[in-house]
Symmetry: C2
Subunit: 257 residues, 2 copies
């Protein structure tokens, strides 16, 4: 700190520095606790007392409180008077290692049901026609919009485009209770092959938030996925908004390819 700085300036600067350090430590602690919360690592869903957490992590009680505030803002924990800090949120792991439908990947966690909001043939917009390799724009494509739930809780809003020759068979299928992936394999008689995916974090717009029963602006994990049959033909273009507070993506990356 420069020597010419007067005492009047130094005190606020030092206070700001302390606040920054405490905020940094709170984030560090919150990141470590978050994982234990999500992996159900606290017996009976009850976090240790603030003093115990402070001692375990070598931080002040104020820092512990600030860390718990961060987890509370994410709706992962709640403070219950007379009880302490308890786990109230759960995120479900979606596999990133293998191409799987939602019901498949979450079968250990509960039952996936799908509310079909829209299902109808539409003229394919140019980018859809191109990616699904249709004969040209305005060729019909089946458009499906589903709100997907796990044991009744909204998880994701999925917009799906399927070429009409395959899509026609989906019109009478049990979409409420079955992953589209499974139906595509049944209809075409061949397994799926690969899917190109992109993942982004976005803030939910007002309408999507309302459908997902999230607060406006809530963080959404957005997945765009173009899925091919094993013969290479693209059959399923999806735009999926997962509620950020209910889903994590888990995978294993390799250094060499």
């Amino acid at each position: 700190m420069p020597a010419e700085r007067t005492r009047e300036h130094t005190a606020p600067v030092a206070a700001a520095r302390r606040r920054r350090l405490r905020a940094d430590r709170a984030r560090q602690l919150a990141d470590l606790l978050r994982r234990q919360v999500l992996l159900q690592g606290f017996p009976a869903g009850l976090l240790p007392h603030e003093d115990a957490l402070g001692a375990d992590y070598g931080v002040s009680r104020n820092t512990v409180r600030q860390a718990l505030d961060l987890l509370r803002a994410e709706q992962l924990v709640e403070r219950v008077p007379g009880v302490g800090t308890v786990v109230v949120g759960a995120k479900y792991p979606h596999g990133l290692d293998r191409l799987m439908g939602l019901a498949e990947t979450l079968h250990e966690h509960g039952r996936v049901t799908n509310e079909v909001r829209t299902m109808a043939p539409v003229p394919a917009p140019a980018p859809v026609a191109e990616r699904l390799r249709l004969e040209g724009p305005n060729t019909d494509v089946l458009y499906i919009e589903r709100l997907r739930r796990l044991d009744g809780l909204p998880l994701s809003l999925d917009l799906t485009y399927v070429p009409m020759d395959v899509g026609i068979e989906l019109l009478n299928a049990d979409l409420e209770n079955t992953d589209i992936f499974r139906l595509l394999e049944e209809i075409t008689g061949q397994p799926l092959g690969t899917a190109e995916i992109t993942l982004e974090a976005v803030n939910a717009d007002a309408h999507s938030a309302a459908v997902l029963q999230s607060p406006r602006g809530a963080a959404v994990l957005m997945l765009e996925r173009l899925t091919h049959l094993s013969d290479g033909r693209p059959v399923d273009l999806e735009f999926i908004r997962f509620r950020g507070d209910r889903i994590t993506m888990r995978g294993l990356l390799h250094r060499s390819v």
Copy 2:
């Protein structure tokens, strides 16, 4: 619609239905345009006129406007009077197919620099000791906090824990300009092996948002990653907050394993 419903009720219900349909169509269109925006698919970064987009996608001008509003809220496009709607945002693709450092994965897009906010030995918190397989909690571990930028723009805030025998060599390394992955391979003389990752979308807390120069509550892509050397030893535990408006994760998934 039930027959007993009066005309006074029907009109608002029909209006609500029209609003919902328009909002649904706006989201559909926004999802299709988003990809073209991100892949720089519009010549000179200029989107077609609203009327042309309406004709191309078979939707009303109001729907087009609502779709462009969604992209504007994500800070991907802006309306410039006398010019039209122009692309103003860019997201950089981070590979999900191979374990790579940020400078490696983004080398075609610009230069990554790292502001080291903290670097010091700390007693390992219990969950860190466990995951890095240290002899016990309170064994020292090197803690590093970096704000990472691409061509000067903040991209991510990374909290990193490295076992001290390896970390000691990082203290004098060029962390400002070099990925930790590369340094770990140099120090240990062996390539990295695999990393377990989890990805989440969260809303940025006030302090993290300030460090990343994002609005409070901005969507953040959060990556937790435990990286192992090729001999299997865990050497690098990271908690990374990527700005949601600057990063996408791209990968290829396979149906069979």
